[in-house]
Amino acid sequence: MQETTLPAELHERVEELREEHLLLDPRPREEMNRMVLEAMEDVNREYIIVMTILGLVTAVTLFGAWGYLMSKGLGLAGIRRPIYWGLFIVSFVFWIGISHAGTFVSAILRVFKAEFRRPFTRAAELMTTFALAGAGLYPLIHLGRTWRFYWMIPYPNQRWLWPNFRSPLVWDFLAINTYLLGSTMYLFLPLIPDLAMARDKSKGWRKVLYTILSFGWRGTEEEWRHLQKAIQIFAWAIIPVMFSVHTIVSWDFAVAMKLGWHSTIFGPYFIVGAILSGISAVGFILYMIRISVKNMRYFIRPEHFDALGKLLLIISMGWAYFFFNEFLLEWYGGEHTVQEILRYYTTGDMAPVWWTMVICNILIPWLVLWNKNWRRKPWVMALMGIIVNIGMYAERYVIVVGALSRNRIPFDWGWYKPSLVEISIALGTFTLFFFLYGLASRLIPLIPVWEVEEGHHAHGLKRIGKGVVKTVAELE
């Protein structure tokens, strides 16, 4: 719409809309490229100090502790009969959950053509890849004798004995690897045009790196057609893969004849939980990017936090629905051991963790996220990211450790206290995640510039009567 045709009183409204919506506030592509490249090349003293600390902490707490665990044996972990699964499995489920953010934000919002996704799909996809990298370590750590991990790989031993494909361990191996490979390819494909842009604008080692990674991309009609078709296929195909991964993780528990685990609702319950933790983590990461990476305030605006906040509220309600379903029916069944497990959760020793879960996943999000003003505050959404993820970690702790603590006969009851090695490794994967993310923020364009520019082309203003509204053209 030509602004010159607008009456003066509408100019202010137009300016408001521009300030509010990134896709109504276009800047020349050259300038957006420069902003993104500046952000990548901004390796200042603070960044180096933070990365060095993260790297050292990761080396000591994760790899150091893991090496120590391997040298001394799994006995260093706090897991004892009857609680054979502890923080390693809790953290494994937690990181698999976080990994759902990228796919949910990127693929599902792409399928539904939700325009607000454009500037932060890559930030979310990166979360998927690095969260999976962290999650993938835990089965190896939990093995104890990590060097035997290749026994899970589908190839035969010298007696032609293959892995047992009916085992949930092998399902995990297949699902996690499919998801890791799929989401990494899905991250890489839309990155190619931006890497080509970086290739054209960089010098020195960066130019060499981006020349290799961009594969000679030129932006021809053929290249775009094939790329877009592939992204479309990925967006549709990765969604069921995402669902399958966390369902299979839930079946690690649910296929066991263990009271508190053997539940038909575990698949969808785990998926909703994963999306809840993933979406809230995206809010936290976007806040960190906005405050710590140069020029990102232009790309990531309160409108994006608002949209994520709405999603989070809906998903939190979904999680509460599944949680209540699971709880109510188990309680209603009246089975003696299940009653004891539920008592142990709600009023027993596990109660502080259980109530943390309820408060962080339901009470706080519901109290906060109904309010648009709060949703639009980036720091509030960052805080929600931390709170919900504390709640989700607590949920996994309750499911893994809580259920194992109570069995049919009291002789088989137990108490779990995580050892220092377990706590150290669990913390180490957090620092590993932030270290990898920090590294990636200076190596690849965090903002998909071509998608943002496409969004600029698609969005416009339309005058209706005495007002002005945002319009979107379907370009994809």
Partner: protein, 182 residues
């Protein structure tokens, strides 16, 4: 059209740069009116434009075929792994089937999807001929800055006429280009 032509008929490649899709679409119309076929025109852009926006011929992508073949290969691999490998060294457990059907769906699904995703990914590179292996290809770095580059090949003796005709479509630059379209 131009294969084997030499001297004044030898093909020359040029690039006309635009900043608006409307202008690029008009330029392509002009080139076509002069008699340059679509296969001697190549458009490069920093964002995807549908073929209809620029008045270019619609061509389906071959990537879905790769996806289907990949899915089929993945499915066959899963069948072999799930139903074939237990027969190589049967371990019979009382009351349990050697080949259980329900869990097979998990393995079949994961490997089918894995095959499809890998093949789709590779399909982009194969279909787009990336990375380049046939020497230098035409490219204008301003494409990264949002410009639309219209490359065209014309016989040398028509070059001036084409450039004059394109001047009316508002290009920011018309210049000779080096390389192939591949």
């Amino acid at each position: 059209m131009y294969g084997g032509y030499q001297g004044r008929y030898a093909p020359k490649t040029f690039v006309a740069l635009y900043h608006e899709p409307d202008d690029a679409a008009r330029a392509i119309d002009v080139l076509r009116e002069i008699g340059i076929e679509d296969r001697f025109i190549q458009v490069q852009s920093g964002v995807p434009y549908r073929a209809e926006f620029l008045g270019r011929p619609e061509r389906p992508s071959g990537v879905p075929k790769y996806a289907m073949v990949g899915a089929f290969v993945g499915f066959l691999a899963a069948l072999g792994l799930y139903y074939g490998t237990p027969l190589l060294y049967p371990i019979r457990v009382g009351g349990k089937p050697l080949l259980a059907v329900p869990p097979s769906f998990i393995v079949l699904f994961e490997l089918t999807m894995l095959g499809m995703l890998i093949a789709t990914f590779l399909g982009v590179f194969v279909e787009s001929l990336l990375p380049p292996v046939f020497g230098k290809r035409v490219y204008h770095p301003e494409v990264s800055d949002g410009a639309i580059a219209v490359f065209f090949q014309v016989p040398a003796h028509l070059a001036e006429r084409v450039k004059q005709a394109l001047a009316a479509t508002g290009p920011s630059e018309i210049a000779p280009a080096e390389g192939t379209f591949l």
